[in-house]
């Protein structure tokens, strides 16, 4: 099975490199599949479903969406890794799937096993608390816990936040205990029920912040959130760590460059439509676009950053 696949792949590559311009011209000649590494209903899902519509129009072929949640996007990533390198099968999800997961989990893929088409927007991870608690900033949370001589509890979602707050705990000389929850929704729910000192999420907290059910007290990123320019970031607090998760689209390694570029252009155009922009805004995401020339480098840089963060813990 394996040699045959390899030969087939080699033949495909050869054919692709010989027929590059023609292939890009004919591309796409059949429907394109975007496989989302996360469940329906989240920010990734909402945006990519909205983008699929203008993309179908500009590419002249249907763009179909499937959800394959699991292993932090890894299930979908593996599917892309094993697909034909022709640009018809696309991963849609967080960049952490490539930049972080392989560092903490024995994944069967690495960050450079793909052609990263583009990063189409940036999740803005915010920290929030229940409004009945007096905290206005992360510093308040730490001071309160120190004064009361108790541990801080927060709604954790995955490995990255544990590493970040383990760093903060060490630096501040305090105990920070992660309470496991599932996804941004789980973290928001746990904080709404006032069971923890704080929680974090991407855009999920948005409506609750607006209704006053949650209070935003920090950015979990190195920089401040675009939407909350006065709220301090991790770096502002003196913590040299932070999350950063792009909404990334990637395809199989070996996909001809013109095809990748054509897809990137279609994504860029789709992201610019008012319907998509409205979702980006409502989910508190940052409107950025990093094309195929830089997308891979960005992932590599993020990966190195996280690798250092993990190494510093030990």
């Amino acid at each position: 099975m394996k040699p045959r696949t390899a030969i087939a792949a080699a033949a495909m590559l050869l054919a692709a490199s010989l027929a590059d311009p023609a292939l890009a011209q004919n591309f796409p000649s059949k429907p394109i599949n975007i496989i989302i590494g996360f469940g329906a209903g989240g920010g990734t899902d909402a945006i990519l479903r909205a983008v699929a519509e203008p993309m179908s129009k500009s590419l002249g072929q249907p763009v179909l969406i499937t959800n394959k949640p699991g292993a932090g996007g890894g299930v979908a990533a593996m599917e892309i890794k094993g697909a034909q390198p022709d640009g018809y099968t696309i991963y849609g999800g967080g960049s952490l799937t490539f930049a972080f997961e392989p560092l903490v989990l024995k994944t069967q893929y690495q960050h450079d096993d793909f052609e990263h088409i583009a990063h189409v927007s940036l999740f803005q991870d915010g920290l929030f608390t229940h409004p009945s608690r007096p905290y206005k900033s992360m510093r308040d949370v730490i001071n309160a816990a120190k004064a009361e001589k108790r541990a801080i509890k927060y709604a954790s979602q995955y490995q990255l936040d544990k590493i970040i707050f383990a760093y903060v705990a060490k630096k501040e000389g305090i105990e920070i205990i992660p309470v496991p929850t599932q996804g941004g929704n789980g973290a928001v729910t746990m904080t709404l029920a006032n069971q923890v000192d704080f929680g974090f999420s991407g855009g999920t907290f948005g409506p609750h912040h607006e209704s006053g059910a949650l209070r935003v007290i920090g950015s979990m990123m190195a920089e401040r959130m675009e939407r909350f320019p006065d709220i301090l970031s991790m770096h502002d607090n003196g913590w040299m760590v932070g999350s950063g998760n792009y909404l990334t689209v990637s395809t199989t390694k070996g996909t001809p460059k013109p095809v990748v570029e054509k897809l990137a252009a279609a994504f860029k155009e789709g992201m610019g439509t008012p319907a998509v922009q409205a979702i980006v805004k409502s989910r508190y995401m940052k409107d950025v676009f990093i094309g195929p020339d830089k997308a891979g480098e960005v992932i590599k840089a993020e990966r190195d950053k996280y690798a250092k963060m993990i190494a510093d813990q030990k």
């Binding site: 329906a40 209903g41 299930v75 496991p180 923890v196």
Partner: protein, 504 residues
């Protein structure tokens, strides 16, 4: 909220959704008629088909199968005295005597009317009750949720299956099977034995199709080898035209029985683990007791059929109340429906109303629409569906085995899921042979990750101190109820054992 309901209405009124509801009811009807193929089995087999569908179409389709299956099962009960589903035993009590008297079509029409009415009223009850209950449930923290789950699993173990201990063992086997996955705190693989395919848990469909569908086929093959397939001749002829019709007068005489059945179906059906068998049994008993001539029951009374069928069908939508309100499946088919929700990235429970209100309302609207489609389908097709009774196992078994393999393969892990399904088929076969409860097993398996998460959250939040339970009176109440259900529920168990079946 009115706006959301309007939006839900528009979403349902598309050719795709209505089409899938109709198809679901149609398949469900067939499944109900075919003996040896239960509703839960059919749902397990059909979940893979819904993969590529939008959540609304897929879930409405599966609910359609569930509803159709219950209605269809009355046919075999009435015509050949073989219940297509366990709960139709009660329908056969008076239904089959009616057939023997040459009044088969009258009985079938009444059964249909009672089914549809029971189903419709119960759907309305679901719509009215689920959201207020969910609103209460939203306030529950992890400590309370853990207590509710402990109660649910012990209670279901106590009421389903012949033995409480076997029920509890089955429930724990389900929980154990839910353990292999990435640990939710450390993020590291746990009990995965190097298989990356189970990082997010053992695939649901491999387990469900294996233990429910393929194992049932093994039982059938087993039966075939022993040469004990039974074939009964079909008596679809009614002696006179008036025995073929259901007069409005007859319908109105039966109306109290239908309403009683519906009430019992809603009440009992919404309690986890009780389900359709007990409710149709109780509704029948109630109607009989209130009648002037209880002796004539069992000899062909229309009221008997009406009460049983109304209760049976009312318990299906009612069974979804705990699922929508607190995320607790009440039967094997509800557990599978919950699995289907999860495959679509949705978690049934109180937060579904908050996060995806339009979808929930659309599912409700779809269920109401399904009631009407069911009525039309029954009126047009009852006689045709009845002919399916003659389908031989020799044809049926290979087709279903084929569907089992395809279904498991479609889940996404390829042949891994298929091999896993084969293992679980033998597991399910021996569970059947040794009378372990499937319902408890499946519910344990599906609730496992949720129970683990909330238990571990509760442990961290209370700092692992048992004394802090004193601050959680609601949790204490449910823990006390769990203890009570272990201690007291032997009566239900005996009643179950008398009826000699397990509700699916």
């Amino acid at each position: 909220m009115a706006q959301q309901i309007a939006q839900a209405w528009t979403n349902v009124m598309s050719l795709e959704v209505i089409g899938y509801i109709t198809l679901g009811l149609f398949i469900g009807y067939i499944v109900g008629v075919l003996p040896g193929l239960s509703r839960a089995t059919a749902i397990a087999l059909l979940i893979p088909i819904t993969y590529k569908l939008p959540a609304l179409a897929g879930i409405s389709f599966l609910i359609g199968v569930s509803k159709g299956g219950n209605t269809g099962s009355a046919l075999t009960a009435i015509l050949i005295n073989v219940p297509g589903e366990p709960q139709s035993v009660v329908t056969a009590l008076d239904g089959y005597p009616l057939t023997q008297q040459g009044r088969a079509q009258k009985a079938l029409k009444l059964a249909l009317a009672a089914s549809v009415l029971g189903d419709f009223l119960s759907t309305i009850a679901l719509i009215a009750l689920a959201q207020p209950l969910a609103a209460v449930a939203v306030g529950m923290g992890p400590v309370e949720l853990t207590a509710v789950l402990i109660f649910a699993i012990t209670f279901i173990a106590a009421v389903s299956g012949a033995s409480f201990y076997k029920g509890l063992i089955a429930g724990f086997m389900g929980l154990l099977l839910a353990a292999p996955r990435l640990d939710m705190e450390t993020g590291q693989p746990r009990l995965t034995f190097g298989f990356n395919d189970i990082y997010d848990g053992v695939p649901l469909l491999a387990v469900a199709i294996g233990t429910l569908a393929l194992s049932e086929m093994l039982v059938q093959i087993d039966k075939g080898w022993r040469g004990s397939y039974e074939h009964k001749s079909l008596q679809l002829k009614s002696s006179t035209p008036e025995n073929r019709r259901l007069t409005p007068r007859e319908f109105f005489t039966c109306l109290p029985a239908i309403l009683r059945g519906t009430l019992v179906g809603i009440g009992i059906g919404s309690i986890p683990g009780m389900g359709a068998s007990i409710s149709s049994f109780l509704a029948y008993a109630w109607t009989k007791r209130r009648d002037k001539d209880p002796e004539s029951f069992g000899k062909g009374r229309l009221e008997g059929v009406a009460a049983a069928e109304a209760a049976d069908n009312a318990s299906v939508p009612a069974g979804l109340i705990p699922m929508f309100a607190i995320g607790l499946p009440s039967s094997a088919s509800a557990a599978l429906l919950m699995g289907a929700f999860m495959l679509h990235g949705l978690t049934p429970g109180p937060f579904l109303f908050r996060d995806d209100a339009v979808l929930v309302y659309a599912i409700f609207v779809g269920m109401v629409v399904a009631s009407f489609i069911m009525l039309a389908m029954g009126m047009i097709g009852q006689n045709l569906f009845a002919r399916l009774i003659a389908v031989s196992e020799v044809i049926l078994v290979p087709v279903i085995v084929f569907l089992c393999v395809i279904g498991a393969y479609l889940e996404g892990s390829g042949m891994f899921s298929v091999y896993l399904m084969l293992v679980f088929a033998f597991f399910g076969y021996f569970m059947k042979k040794f009378d372990f409860s499937f319902v408890t097993f499946l519910i344990g398996f599906i609730l496992g990750p949720m129970a683990e998460l909330s238990l571990r959250q509760a442990m961290i939040i209370t700092d692992g101190k048992i004394t802090s339970l004193a601050n959680h009176p609601v949790a204490l109440l449910f823990l006390a109820l769990a203890a009570l259900s272990i201690w007291r529920l032997s009566t239900f168990r005996r009643m179950r054992a008398r009826m000699g079946d397990e509700q699916a």
